[in-house]
Amino acid sequence: MKIRRQIILAVVLLLASTSGWGKEKAKLGPCVRQCVQAFNPSLADSGAQEFMAEDFRSRDCVRLCKENLYQGECNPAADNCCNLDYLDSDPDCQGEPPPDQPGNGLPPDPGEAGKETLEGIDSDGDGIRDDIQRYIALTYPGSQKTRAALRQLTFALDKSILESPDEESALNNTELMHRATECLWYIHSDQSIKFKNQLKAEYLNTLKRSRAYLAYDSKLSGHVFGGKDFDEYKTSCTFDPDLMED
């Protein structure tokens, strides 16, 4: 009886998974094809047979496409490109020197030109202003997890001063700031306050940026904000700091 149940369950699972995959495949097909070809150019225009091959590349691509992670050029999977948003899980980031270390592809100092707009200059398109990218890399060359946490904080700061036109956005962006704060605290405890404020002082290097930050802050007046327990602070990181050696 027990075995019969297991057989029924296996059939059910098989049916559920195969029928689901059939529909999924049709929907994901172009994404997976593009992804497989990007990973392995020799498969370009190779036709259906190769595409359907159950090698690790296509399985990886199915996962990336299903989870909307496929990014075209630098994916959080083995494609010889370390995706900075997935430092902990992208195999290309493991065992390599941190991508933001001095001499490892840092953009040039934008100088005064970098202060002309609220957004600043992000010449390498990594999502972080060049001057702040350089500050983080050059100030903390020996700590990958600190750099990752400060990058998370920079993303939150960006959203706060660039995308808080109304109170609701400001409140949501404050949650991102808190999570970044908790992540940095997980790594450095109360010393994190100093690291955070030093970064913020660098970040708010123009009157326009300072005003935008204070305008964002003024929208928070009168509101109440909750915090996690200390033992959950690690979960506030968008990466896994415990997988980083330093």
Partner: protein, 408 residues
């Protein structure tokens, strides 16, 4: 076959929910909520740092079983434009270097006298009565009242202008609620603590308090005299007023004193009678004297929970009011019944003759939102067509635990 698939999916979903809920503190029941109420020279981000410092201190000082009964929140008081005024008035001296301004502002460099003087000048001309804005105070009081109604004790650690908010909040609570509301006062700019000469901590070296004492005309009431000295403690905060840099400086007299006062007040607070259930999601509706405004919640499963259907699949309306003021209260009591998806929150002006002002207070996970809604009398008599006020989106967190969003 369909049943088997359904059971399988249900089990899988249940496993995921249980796995996530076990890791989340929002699922744990807490006994006391500790709020930090900030001073005027404090941005929200810095207020959150102050809360962390306080939390760490209590984590070290309290036995684990007592610490785990505490929940921590920031009651943020605005800065009234003071940082911007300070920035604009000092920028010329700083040769336009805003980064240097922020380093001084956040105590990363020793504050020079001219900078401290400028801050004292700007803060001393602020009108005390204008500092406590009605909207902010009302939001804070709504939160305190909600927590006390849930049977929780409330402790406010108030710094600088936070004392003005705390004292005024206290007088807006009824006598029963006051028994369960305590305050630990730090750098008090007011002349009392909750209407009494209760314990407080003000440093002898606090130049802001000293300036206020010297210029009584700036405040209708004279602040309480400094009563604490930190010997041999160096700080970049030459103002001597910062919560983190001056009052909670490591191993200082003030740090020890404040921590001890928090513990003493925590032990002295009365546990309030519980009027409504606490939970992972709580929604409270209050209004004025008109007889009946109704709270409606549509759960992700589609169930409408309101006066005519008190029990949902996920939560329940555990308090219905038909005689004015409210509260009406909905709660999802535990993570076990929390659903992924959207909870829609609405209200219906069921019975009354005059326009009403309703307040909906939502707490979901770490999020707290308060909405004020003016309801015209014209919709009097509507019964089952609530006006949508807010949505609560519950989703699984990327790193385990739940994520919440509240939006209109």
């Amino acid at each position: 076959m369909k049943n088997i698939i359904y059971i399988f999916i249900s089990c899988l979903l249940g496993t995921i929910l249980l796995a996530e809920s076990s890791a989340a503190s929002i699922c744990d029941s807490k006994e006391t909520v500790v709020y930090f109420g900030n001073g005027i020279k404090t941005t929200e981000d810095e207020a959150y740092d102050s809360l962390n410092i306080l939390k760490k201190q209590l984590h070290m000082a309290l036995p684990t079983e007592k610490y785990e009964l505490l929940e921590f929140k920031v009651s943020y008081n605005g800065t009234h434009g003071l940082p911007l005024d300070l920035l604009e008035s000092t920028l010329q001296v700083l040769s336009g270097n805003t980064s240097r301004f922020w380093r001084l502002f956040w105590g990363l460099e020793i504050i020079p006298d001219w900078f401290a003087d400028k801050f004292i000048l700007l803060s001393s001309v602020l009108d005390k009565s204008a500092l406590v804005t009605t909207d902010s105070l009302k939001n804070h009081v709504t939160t305190y009242k909600t927590k006390i109604a849930e049977g929780k004790k409330v402790l406010l650690v108030a710094h600088s202008q936070g004392n003005l908010f705390g004292n005024q909040a206290y007088w807006l609570l009824n006598s029963r609620e006051q028994q369960s509301f305590g305050m630990v006062s730090v750098a008090n700019v007011d002349n009392n603590v909750l209407g009494a000469d209760s314990p407080y901590t003000t440093l002898e070296t606090d130049k802001v308090i000293m300036a206020l004492l010297a210029a009584q005309i700036a405040l209708p009431s004279r602040p309480m005299e400094p009563n604490t000295e930190n010997l041999d403690k160096e700080s970049a905060d030459s103002l001597g007023h910062s919560f983190i840099e001056s009052y909670m400086i490591k191993s200082s007299n003030s740090e020890t004193k404040i921590t001890q006062q928090v513990i003493t007040v925590l032990e002295s607070l009365a546990t309030p009678s519980q009027f409504v259930e606490s939970g992972v999601i709580t929604i409270s509706l209050t209004w004025g004297s008109e007889p009946d405004v109704d709270l409606h919640v549509y759960e992700p499963n589609g169930m409408q929970v309101f006066w005519n259907n008190l029990q949902g699949y996920s939560g329940a309306l555990d308090r219905d009011d038909r005689s004015g003021y409210g509260p009406e209260h909905y709660t999802v009591p535990a993570c076990e019944t929390l659903e992924r998806g959207i909870y829609h929150v609405g209200l219906d002006y069921f019975k009354g003759d005059e326009p009403e002002l309703a307040t909906i207070h939502i707490e979901a996970g770490l999020l707290v939102r308060t909405y004020e809604i003016a309801i015209p009398s014209e919709i009097y008599g509507s019964s089952n067509s609530p006006e949508l006020i807010a949505n609560i989106l519950v989703k699984g967190g990327e790193n385990g635990g739940y994520d919440f969003e509240i939006y209109e």
